[in-house]
């Protein structure tokens, strides 16, 4: 029977080509951003920015584009551009907030995620990312000497936290209702056989009240309100930080000493200085494929089938790179780690898992039903119709595996840890030194005014520093500096 190939053979080949293209197009976010992160870690920020733009060549930029770009620009010491990028990201999150306020169903139900995978959902940022965007913008404002704008950003942070709290409770209720309606048995990650439950049951994760309120965000709020002479707003900031990081003297002193600090006469020679030490980077999300028992309709009715589904996993950070102390002009100050972003990311995932499980299950059931329908058609039909049915059944079966990837999108360049130290310094320039796994890193940072924030970012072997004075006529800005002098950027760069 040599001659023309059968139609079904042609269709099969065409289907396989299509599937190959689909799989290639669905690389996870971690691998997409690997080169950019690697360049940034190596201190080559221009290359990192170029790679980032290359990865996001489309005119339609998404939230993550602006989040990552804002951090790269901040590392470069370009606070104006960083702030601009993050405010673009903030516009997108405000759109999400508007949706949540006006029509939550718009956010809760996304048909694409039920048909293909969660990556078809508009990326609105994880809860802690939404809030840390406010924190990072506030730090940019501070680096530019805009304390009132930093205050505005912190107020937005409080409001955003309230919106998230309201939304998250609705989302969990909706997921549970959906699960009941579809007769799903599994709604908890604990029931997923083989899932690394310990990553989400970690005491560091369980101890968090939620995934979006951070001790650092609250402490920074307390400090900014204090600097602006608003004790009634500073007090809850320090109080909340102390509740989240109990029995830490430095944190407790924020509230205990508030009245005495505010009633003491202010001089510009003594600067109450908050050193913010950002280390590491936010975690990646990995996909892990595990079977889940689902009621799939088949030729002989409904049957429980072990269906492979891809689940998101965040592994704990084995390398806590938080320095135990920071040295200012030769005097060591204790460093207190306030917020572990890895733990917050896992807490966010823990909160999202019921929704993820329900959506993934419904998706798998839907695909199973479609595949069964085609197989049934193949059985009943003949000739070309049977061939097409066979092909589509094959495509559906392979596509269910090929497109079944967990949503790996996450803000990768966000710092991994936020730590603080606090001291009173005489106005002027001070040498700040951190001992890291790469060696000793130093930066000369000017401080002035009654209050100042010095932001230090350790990323890879590089130290970036910025400072800002409160209530001084001129903002004192020291921009990014790096150990490699050739790569330093921005005004007043100072690092060794």
């Amino acid at each position: 029977m040599a001659g023309r190939p059968r139609a079904s053979v042609l269709f099969r080949h065409a289907g396989l080509v299509m599937l190959t293209a689909m799989v290639a197009g669905c690389a996870g976010y971690s691998s997409q951003t690997a080169e950019t992160v690697s360049a940034a870690k190596a201190g080559d920020l221009s290359e990192a920015l170029a790679l980032h733009e290359k990865q996001n060549a489309s005119a339609d930029k998404d939230l993550l584009y602006y989040l990552e770009k804002g951090e790269l620009l901040r590392l470069q010491g370009n606070y104006q551009a960083s702030r601009k990028s993050w405010l673009m990201a903030d516009n997108r999150i405000q759109a999400w907030e508007d949706d949540v306020r006006t029509d939550p169903s718009k956010v809760l139900g996304d048909i694409g995620s039920y048909l293909v995978n969660d990556t078809t959902r508009r990326y609105d940022g994880r809860d802690y990312e939404k809030v840390f965007l406010n924190v990072q913008i506030a730090l940019d404002h501070l680096a530019l000497g805009d304390w009132n704008d930093a205050r505005t950003e912190i107020t937005k942070m409080h409001e955003r936290e309230a919106v998230i709290a309201d939304y998250r409770s609705k989302e969990i209720d909706a997921a549970m209702d959906e699960a009941r309606a579809k007769g799903l048995r599994t709604t908890s990650y604990k029931d997923l056989s083989g899932y690394p439950v310990e990553t989400l049951d970690d005491p560091a994760v369980r101890s968090l009240t939620n995934s979006y309120e951070s001790a650092f965000g609250n402490y920074l709020a307390g400090f900014v309100y204090e600097a602006l002479d608003e004790p009634s707003l500073a007090a809850p900031g320090y109080r909340k930080a102390a509740e989240m990081r109990p029995n830490v003297p430095l944190v407790d002193d924020g509230l205990k000493g508030l009245d005495s600090r505010l009633s003491a006469p202010k001089t510009r020679d003594d600067v109450d200085t908050l050193l913010v030490i950002e280390t590491g980077q936010a975690p990646a999300i990995h996909s892990q494929t595990l079977p889940i028992m689902l009621p799939i309709p088949g030729r002989y009715g409904m049957s429980l089938v072990a269906t492979p589904v891809s689940w998101p996993v965040i592994w704990p950070d084995p390398t806590n790179g938080v320095p135990s102390s920071v040295t200012v002009d030769g005097t060591a100050l204790p460093v207190v780690m306030l917020t572990d972003v890895n733990a917050m990311a896992r807490r966010a995932l823990r909160d999202e898992m019921p929704g993820i499980i329900v959506r993934s299950s419904i998706r798998a059931i839907t695909r199973g039903a479609v595949q069964a329908g085609f197989e049934q058609g193949t059985q009943n039909g003949n000739g070309e119709a049977a061939a097409i049915g066979e092909l589509i059944g094959l495509i559906t079966a392979v596509a269910s595996v090929a497109t079944e990837v967990a949503d790996e999108r996450i803000w990768r360049l966000l710092p991994g840890y936020y730590s603080i130290a606090r001291t009173t310094l005489p106005a002027g320039t001070h040498r700040i030194t951190l001992t890291t796994q790469y060696g000793v890193e130093s930066a000369d940072v000017p401080v002035s005014g009654p209050y100042a924030v010095v932001a230090l970012r350790l990323f890879g072997p590089n130290l970036y520093a910025a400072s800002s004075a409160a209530n001084s006529n001129a903002s004192a800005v020291a921009a990014a500096g790096q150990r490699a002098a050739t790569a330093s950027a921005g005004a007043g760069a100072a690092a060794k």
Partner: protein
């Protein structure tokens, strides 16, 4: 055949859209509301709580001040926020002061928060050389307050699986600065309960 075509189109278009980004959209319907209307959006401290407290305190203070022979000169110190909510208590005391000034029952000396601007302005008038001497406000003529108002706001929050209950207590006292005696005190309680 048509069933297969439609189903195939749905599957394939959905699959090809797997990696596409979608653009957020915003629908905005803005409308003005009554600023005095009861606000129950969440059970956090809100505008109705602020207005209720300010009205209750201003009324109580005005009644007390009515018994004074002359309008008392008062300064407002900070109201301590002892809750874990971000409540701007200065906004509450601003409302109380506004209502009392409008009713004409009390006079207010510049408070600590406004003292820096006050002294800066005095210094500017007296040292800049920009003003006619006859119009310059002289230093050393500020009137000292006889009474000081201060207070605190506390809260108790309780929650179970179904309900969140928030109780606020706003306390205010007025002290005779020279004599150190408390001349007036009042408090306003608010309880709010909402399903979780």
């Amino acid at each position: 055949m048509s069933f297969y075509k439609v189903a195939a189109a749905v599957c394939i278009s959905a699959a090809l859209g797997a990696c596409a980004n979608s653009t957020p959209t915003v629908n905005g319907d803005v409308r003005y509301g009554d600023a005095q209307a009861v606000e129950t959006v969440t059970n956090q401290f809100g505008s109705t709580d602020l207005q209720t407290i300010a009205e209750a305190m201003a009324r109580s203070l005005a009644q007390t001040a009515a018994g004074f022979k002359t309008r008392p000169l008062v300064t407002i110190a900070d109201v301590k926020n002892k809750t874990d909510e971000y409540i701007d208590t200065r906004s509450i005391t601003d409302s109380i002061r506004t209502q009392l000034l409008k009713s004409g029952t009390m006079r207010f000396a510049t408070d600590i928060a406004g003292m820096r601007e006050q002294t800066d302005e005095l210094a500017r008038q007296n040292t800049s050389g920009l003003y006619k001497q006859s119009s310059v406000a002289r230093t050393g003529q500020m009137e000292a307050a006889k009474y000081r108002i201060e207070g605190s706001i506390t809260s108790i929050v309780k929650r179970n699986e179904d309900v969140k209950d928030v109780y606020y207590k706003f306390s205010l006292i007025m002290t005779n600065i020279q004599e150190g005696t408390i001349e007036w005190a009042d408090e306003k309680e608010i309880r709010k309960t909402s399903p979780r």
